[in-house]
């Protein structure tokens, strides 16, 4: 596989995964960009990794985890110094009325491990690669995805008021 082809194939998948992890389009772009850049550098210096997708997703996973942690740590300080209310503002309310907003809100309510497993599947990463990225067995990954889907369905139905 050529580097350029791999990068073009992985870019939308990484963006999808990163948006699901961070819930923020700008941060998602930053995460996906870092992951792809790491892949390009690795490829040019030492040749292609054994599994380019697993390599890039592993980088994106670490980066998204760090960003989320930093955001969680800084949230109280930002609220204190910038005077932001922890309650959703008009923009957040508008976003919640869109499908993306409702989906992201429901995703946020999933446990981290289950959300991550589901998002790797949604990003079209194969089961083998997904299990490799998460460092778990394929059956454990399937279990997490199943649990996440079930819970997400409940949450989305509750959000639509169909239940």
């Amino acid at each position: 596989m050529e580097l350029e082809t791999a990068v073009k194939e992985l870019a939308p998948q990484l963006l999808r995964y990163s948006l699901g992890r961070t819930g923020d389009a700008t941060l998602a772009e930053e995460v996906a960009q870092d992951a792809l850049t790491a892949l390009v550098q690795r490829w040019r210096r030492h040749g292609p990794p054994e599994c380019p997708a697993a390599f890039a997703f592993a980088v994106a996973r670490r980066r998204a985890g760090r960003l989320n942690l930093r955001r969680r740590l800084l949230e109280p300080l930002n609220a204190l110094f910038d005077g932001h209310s922890p309650l959703p503002g008009p923009e957040e309310h508008a976003l919640l009325r869109t499908d993306l907003g409702r989906t992201l809100a429901a995703l946020r309510k999933l446990p981290d491990r289950d959300r991550e497993a589901l998002l790797l599947g949604v990003a079209d990463l194969g089961l083998t690669e997904g299990a490799r990225v998460l460092g778990i067995s394929i059956s454990a990954l399937k279990m997490r995805v199943h649990r996440a889907r079930k819970r997400l369905l409940q949450l989305l139905e509750e959000a639509h008021g169909t239940k």
């Binding site: 870019a11 960009q33 792809l36 850049t37 390009v40 992201l104 889907r149």
Partner: protein
């Protein structure tokens, strides 16, 4: 009613909905592909290394200062023993006796303001070696 405003019973429906919701705009895809292939992150990586480089520079400067400082410091012999004092001060009543290493001694008496000098009534006693 939005097309997605419906119940999503099957996993395939759910995945489709998630993919649709999380689908990135083509311009964002093009942007990150272009930046990654251009290797633009070398500069970004360089910027990220600035704090590390600054910390290293400060550490090296501190090390250089320590190396250039005289050793042993004044008052300490090369063996680490304190050197004998060049002058010792001893207080006897209101008189201070300053004793130099070469044996010279000076006497200092503090006279309070208004106190009249009365040399005839003072007696200086030197004692010791």
């Amino acid at each position: 009613m939005e097309p997605n405003d419906r119940t999503h019973g099957s996993p395939a429906d759910l995945d489709r909905r998630l993919r649709g919701a999380l689908e990135p705009p083509p311009e964002a895809v093009a942007r990150i592909v272009g930046a990654a292939l251009a290797g633009g992150s070398d500069a970004a990586r360089g910027f990220r290394l600035i704090p590390v480089a600054s910390a290293l520079a400060v550490l090296m400067a501190a090390a250089a200062l320590l190396l250039m400082a005289p050793w042993p410091p004044p008052g300490i012999s090369p063996g680490g023993e304190p050197l004998p004092a060049s002058i010792s001060i001893e207080n006897v009543g209101e008189v201070l006796i300053l004793r130099a290493r070469d044996g010279r001694r000076s006497l200092v008496h503090h006279r309070a303001p208004g106190e009249e000098a009365s040399p005839s009534s003072s007696m200086i006693v030197l004692y010791g070696d």
